[in-house]
């Protein structure tokens, strides 16, 4: 008798965010045009609508920005930690106050659901600034020497999957430790970083402490290569990470790289199954799977494979894909056409290799970049979809029979960023976690982040840690003063 419970659309109002037709580079506290006048467009992935025209940083702009940061560094690093903390706390509070505006902006520019920007990204962004604000006057107690000193100018390059959150991960510890920053956001998602520039002005942050240079890979390369940059921090693909490692090799630049991943999500037969299903969904379909620590390889104990897959498929059928500004949307758009092409080609390879592809019945919007949640079964370690990072809503399911086999398969990867363990047996959690080569290991949960918890990887997933006390280390010189760099 009941008709289907169809939720009416509940779109978040986009009128709360005022996007200007064009934006400049943010250098020395001012928005300026690129020296060579180059611009590029940023589009909304869910509609392909052009949102704004953005100035594109060239080498001359990088040089201008690094000079401004160098100049600002003198005063900024000399401030007492408690003074720097005041600015960071102020920024954190402004982010909270403007969080709805920023969430809508991020959803427009990135394509991820408002549910995620509102409930995950923005609260974490504010939390990171609050957390590192708290460290600013306690650096001598952080365990990195009696009087740790800042490094100087940090050149930071961030990706498009969590534009504002990655900015927070980079800028908050850099400023707390007394460094100044030149940050390059990704070319597909520059807007929230430019809004952040406005927040810096609103907070009265001294000029030049934060500089934002939107642009493509060449802008990032120029920044990384600039001789007056002391520290390079990069989050993005492993290929670009290797390029950066080559660039900074032999220099005195300190570097942290947070790169790709192919996280194993291991489900034992005594797992809390219903919660494991949620964890698997959250592990790979959060942010359309465009997460470096995504649980993109499901390792399930053979004895429960059938029932787990049945549950998982039923659950995937309830995922709602569509307008990211709708508060009920679970799966939004893929960030760019380029990324969609990459996902599509890897998935086609998976099929060609003989893995079995499954997606729930799911209508894709006509404009924009979309990919249905996808599951591959009959996957083996030898398949490319079990080895390459797809960076999309695609889960590869493998099986194992014993804990040793699970560990061996989980570790058999060029990456080592994250892993998940699902079992009701506490001793097994500890035993397995000790053997996994991954920077973050979640047990009976997945994709949980907290500013107090360090994050980073092994092997091709990069080096260095962000977040927590460990995150300070990347921006501090334990005993050598800045002049010795």
């Amino acid at each position: 008798m009941a008709s289907v419970f169809e939720y009416a659309p509940a779109p978040e109002s986009r009128s709360i965010v005022d996007i200007a037709p064009s934006y400049g580079l943010f250098i020395d506290g001012e928005f300026v045009e690129a020296a060579d006048g180059k611009v590029f467009k940023t589009v909304s992935p869910s509609t392909e609508e052009v949102l704004a025209e953005i100035a594109q940083a060239g080498e001359a702009d990088v040089d201008r920005a690094v000079k401004a940061a160098r100049k600002a560094f003198v005063k900024w690093s000399a401030l007492p930690g408690s003074e720097r903390a005041k600015y960071l706390f102020r920024i954190a509070r402004i982010i909270q106050e403007r969080s709805r505006e920023l969430a809508v902006l991020e959803t427009l520019d990135n394509g991820k659901p408002i549910k995620e920007t509102r409930d995950a990204d923005l609260p974490l962004v504010a939390a990171h600034f609050f957390y590192y604000a708290g460290w600013a006057d306690k650096l001598e107690h952080a365990g990195f020497g009696a009087s740790p000193a800042p490094l100087g100018v940090a050149g930071q390059v961030i990706p498009w999957n969590f534009p504002l959150l990655m900015l927070a991960w980079k800028i908050a510890p850099a400023l707390a430790t007394g460094n100044t920053v030149v940050l390059k956001p990704a070319e597909t998602t520059p807007l929230s970083a430019l809004f952040f520039a406005d927040i810096c002005r609103q907070a009265g942050l001294p000029k030049g402490v934060v500089n934002i240079l939107p642009g493509y890979g060449d802008s990032g390369a120029a920044l990384v290569a600039h001789p007056d940059v002391n520290k390079v921090a990069f989050t993005g693909s492993t290929a670009v990470g290797k390029e950066i490692a080559r660039t900074v090799a032999g220099t005195h630049k300190k570097v942290t790289l947070e790169l790709g991943g192919k996280g194993a999500n291991i489900v034992f037969d005594d797992a809390p199954i219903d919660q494991a299903v949620e964890g698997i969904v959250n592990g790979i379909f959060f942010n359309q799977g465009q997460v470096c620590c995504a649980g993109s390889r499901l390792l399930v104990q053979e004895s429960i494979q059938d029932e787990l897959l049945e549950s998982l498929k039923r659950r995937l059928s309830t995922l709602r894909l569509g307008d990211p500004l709708d508060k009920n949307t679970d799966i939004g758009a893929i960030n760019s056409e380029e990324q969609l092409t990459r996902i599509t080609s890897l998935v086609e390879q998976g099929e060609a290799e003989g893995a079995e592809r499954w997606s729930p019945a799911c209508e894709l919007p006509e404009s924009g970049y979309w990919f249905a949640p996808t599951l591959f079964t009959n996957v083996t370690q030898a398949h490319r979809i079990a080895r390459d990072e797809i960076f999309g809503p695609v889960l590869s399911v493998l099986t194992f029979r014993t804990p040793d086999e699970a560990v061996a398969k989980a570790n058999n990867s060029a990456y080592g960023l994250s892993a998940g363990i699902w079992t009701e047996k506490g001793s097994r959690i500890l035993a397995v976690a000790n053997k996994l080569r991954a920077g973050v290991i979640w047990s009976n949960t997945f994709n949980k982040f907290d500013p107090t918890s360090p994050f980073g990887g092994y092997k091709e997933s990069g080096f260095g840690r962000e977040g927590g006390r460990h995150g300070l280390e990347a921006y501090l010189a334990p005993s050598s003063p800045e002049g010795e760099r």
Partner: protein, 322 residues
Amino acid sequence: MTMPTNAPTAAHALTDVTASDSTLRRFLHGLPGVDAVGLEARAASLGTRSIKTTAKAYAIDLAISMVDLTTLEGADTPGKVRALGAKAVHPDPSDRTTPATAAVCVYPDMVATAKEAVAGSSVKVASVATAFPAGRAALGVKLADVRDAVGAGADEIDMVIDRGAFLAGNYMKVYDEIVAVKEACGTSARLKVIFETGELSTYDNIRRASWLGMLAGADFIKTSTGKVAVNATPANTLLMLEAVRDFRAQTGIQVGVKPAGGIRTTKDAVKFLVLVNETAGEDWLDNHWFRFGASSLLNDLLMQRQKLATGRYSGPDYVTVD
């Protein structure tokens, strides 16, 4: 998904698990565990679904039709029960398009009065028997209580389980009691089994109790009596919805769910409907399979319904007091 890997899959094989105390215990303890953090997070995330306009109008009418309008006070009088019955049939006298509630729920001695009050309507009469709410009486007394209510015409019996026996691990005793009560219900009355989830304390226990009740023949599993501190919550209701979903997958038998106690607002009720929709599925979005045990909820639903109809929020004087 709730079947342990060693569990039999065919419906007839499930009856074997009740062959003895030890097989029953082994079965219930073999059910997959519940991770409390994960369960509550899932319930909370479903609570953020935004339900507006047409979906809300549908949800409000559906929720009204699922209410078991309840009076369970020592001071209940025939007059009070008649008033309740009249309200169940026509919840909003000013708008006859308002659906009737599912049932009125009364003590056994009020069943006859309630039957008269709802005669000729779709409203069922439910009765809390088996020494409600404590359940602390001899089986013979509980069964007499049930027969009394059924004899007076009750369409539904809400029984409480013996929580003491359950917590002592005496699952067979609980099972046998439910079977006996189900038998006393005969073919005319549907049986709702109340676990008093607040007293069972852990989610693992709630899942075990759900399966125990369903194995013993419950037509409905119900969270609580409304008489303790913690009653229905989104999390325990989500858990029970998972249990009925899995039970049907295993046996083909569909069992209803009734959260009771503590659901007071339309917003809350809609959240529960979202849980039903996204966990058990639309087969349960019907008052034959899902109920709200709530007395104060109805008025809030009616006020929200009036607001949707008129665009104005009228206030408590525009709905009837019970």
